[in-house]
């Protein structure tokens, strides 16, 4: 059990979060490229790339957290019945 815990998604909620972050990066990079195609110096352009940065950093933080334990570990101890806390079978 201890081996399974370290380094990886254990709960469904975490697996879904990973998927969500990956999709957001793709989506936001695409958006930013489109928005800036019009005017690179516009406020919309810099906001769009700032969002990409925010999500990219969030993904990196998530990856780092995951190396130690599932980020939902302590939440799921309190709420094991929730959908997010279903065990994720790799």
């Amino acid at each position: 059990m201890a081996v399974a815990m370290a380094g990886g998604a254990k709960f469904k909620g975490t697996q879904m979060r990973e998927k969500q972050l990956n999709e957001m990066i793709e989506k936001k990079v695409k958006e930013a490229t489109e928005v800036c195609g019009g005017d690179e110096k516009s406020a919309e352009c810099k906001v769009a790339w700032d969002e990409v940065e925010e999500i990219s950093q969030a993904k990196a933080d998530f990856r780092l957290k995951l190396q130690k334990e599932d980020p939902l570990e302590s939440f799921c101890q309190e709420h094991p019945e929730t959908d997010e806390c279903r065990l994720y079978d790799n």
Partner: protein, 411 residues
């Protein structure tokens, strides 16, 4: 601090017996507040104790005031390597608060609480999009709230701090932050607002050069589907104007700047793997004595590799000397190159002075403890560790000075 003087002359020893700090099991310091009020008939009715001198003040015992450190960094919050090294020096690992919002940015250890300043965003992601401002823009941040809450925590009172959720881009319900011994506020704008700056006992700015930033972000993002060299580059460039306008100018206020540049030891190196790191330390900062090499105040150039120490390519080069930085006198210690072996590290440590270690080899020990952290073989890890020890030293000096009678402390 004027308030401190008032209570000093009127209450003196009684203060320490009334307002004794109570430690919760987590080691937080909470201060009891004693209020004395003067009523309309010119006699007073104290809330507690039979004290006979009229006054109106909120009394706090200076000995337990939280020490506040500011860290300006553009690398997200709380999980940064610097934070992990810093909290490790004080003992224990900093963890997210148990049982709270899993998306909290806060880290808590026995002695230290690290707050992410993104929690003070006044505009969430949608709001910023509507107004056309990035997170770097001061208009996206509530400095009034930041100031009030940091001040309140510093005075020993817990606060309900908002949580900014970096995944959803929304502001989540607040979490309770109890006053720790050491509060670190980390983020883009710890030194932007003058009132917040004045609350900081020590401040650090992490200054990453463009080339190194690019190399690091490539390492961070290239594995992500959706990213390419172009998108990584475009993101950095689009954020640069706001970064230069709002974040970079904070450098001048920092007590210590860690500047990370590409190496000069390898001609035309563009991999960004070998780093040249400068530790720029302001002179004249209370409780902070800059690190030096060999002879304080002189200019030194030092290559430790030679007869006593064999290094592999590209080796290690140190320089040290006085300089001027945005109009301030500073001392600059610089390391270019990489550590390959343990004995290189201990050799270097033994030649540095004013590193505030408690025993010989403490820097090396701390670096080894976290050898898996990025920067463990170069100046970033070395200087972050040393700054951590200097902050520990600063904290102990502050506590020692405050536990003497307040009159003496004021002098």
């Amino acid at each position: 601090m004027a308030i401190c003087t008032v209570y000093t002359t009127q209450l003196n020893p009684t203060c320490s017996s009334i307002s004794k700090p109570s430690k919760s099991h987590l080691g937080f310091h909470q201060r009891q507040v004693v209020l004395y009020k003067r009523n309309s008939t010119n006699t007073y009715r104290p809330r507690s104790s039979g004290f006979s001198r009229p006054s109106y003040s909120i009394i706090t015992c200076a000995a337990d005031q939280t020490v506040v450190i500011g860290l300006a960094a553009d690398s997200g919050c709380g999980k940064s390597t610097f934070m992990r090294r810093l909290t490790s020096v004080f003992g224990g690992a900093a963890e997210p608060p148990r049982g709270g919002n899993p998306d909290s940015n806060t880290l808590i250890s026995d002695t230290t609480t690290v707050i992410c300043l993104d929690d003070y965003h006044s505009l969430d992601r949608t709001g910023r999009k509507e107004k056309g401002v990035t997170a770097l823009d001061p208009r996206a941040n509530n400095f009034d709230l930041m100031y009030e809450q940091v001040k309140t925590i510093k005075e020993g009172v817990a606060v309900e701090k908002p949580i900014y959720n970096h995944v959803t881009g929304l502001l989540d319900p607040p979490e309770l932050i109890k006053p720790p011994k050491i509060l670190v506020i980390e983020g883009l704008h710890p030194m932007y607002d003058e009132r917040v700056r004045d609350l900081l006992d020590f401040s650090i700015y992490l200054d990453i050069s463009n080339e190194v930033k690019f190399a690091w972000k490539i390492q961070r993002d290239m594995a992500e589907r959706g990213h390419s060299l172009e998108s990584i580059k475009a993101s950095i460039e689009a954020r640069k104007p706001d970064f230069d306008a709002y974040i970079d100018p904070q450098k001048q206020y920092a007590d210590a700047v860690i500047e990370v540049l590409p190496t000069q030891l390898i001609p035309d190196d563009n991999e960004g793997k070998v780093l040249r790191v400068k530790l720029i330390m302001k002179e004249g900062v209370q409780y902070f004595s800059p690190v030096y090499l060999f002879d304080e105040g002189s200019t030194i150039s030092w290559i430790p590799c030679g007869r006593k120490l064999t290094c592999s390519y590209p080796g290690i080069k140190f320089t040290y000397g006085p300089d001027s930085y945005y109009g301030h006198e500073v001392s600059v210690l610089e390391m270019d190159g990489q550590f390959d072996r343990l004995d290189e590290l201990i050799y270097v440590e033994s030649h540095l002075s004013n590193i505030s270690t408690k025993f010989y080899g403490e820097v090396t020990q701390q670096m080894l403890k976290h050898s898996d952290f990025p920067g463990s073989n170069n100046g970033t890890g070395l200087f972050q560790t040393i700054i951590g020890l200097k902050i520990r030293d600063l904290y102990e000096q502050i506590v020692a000075s405050r536990s003497q009678t307040p009159v003496e402390a004021k002098a």
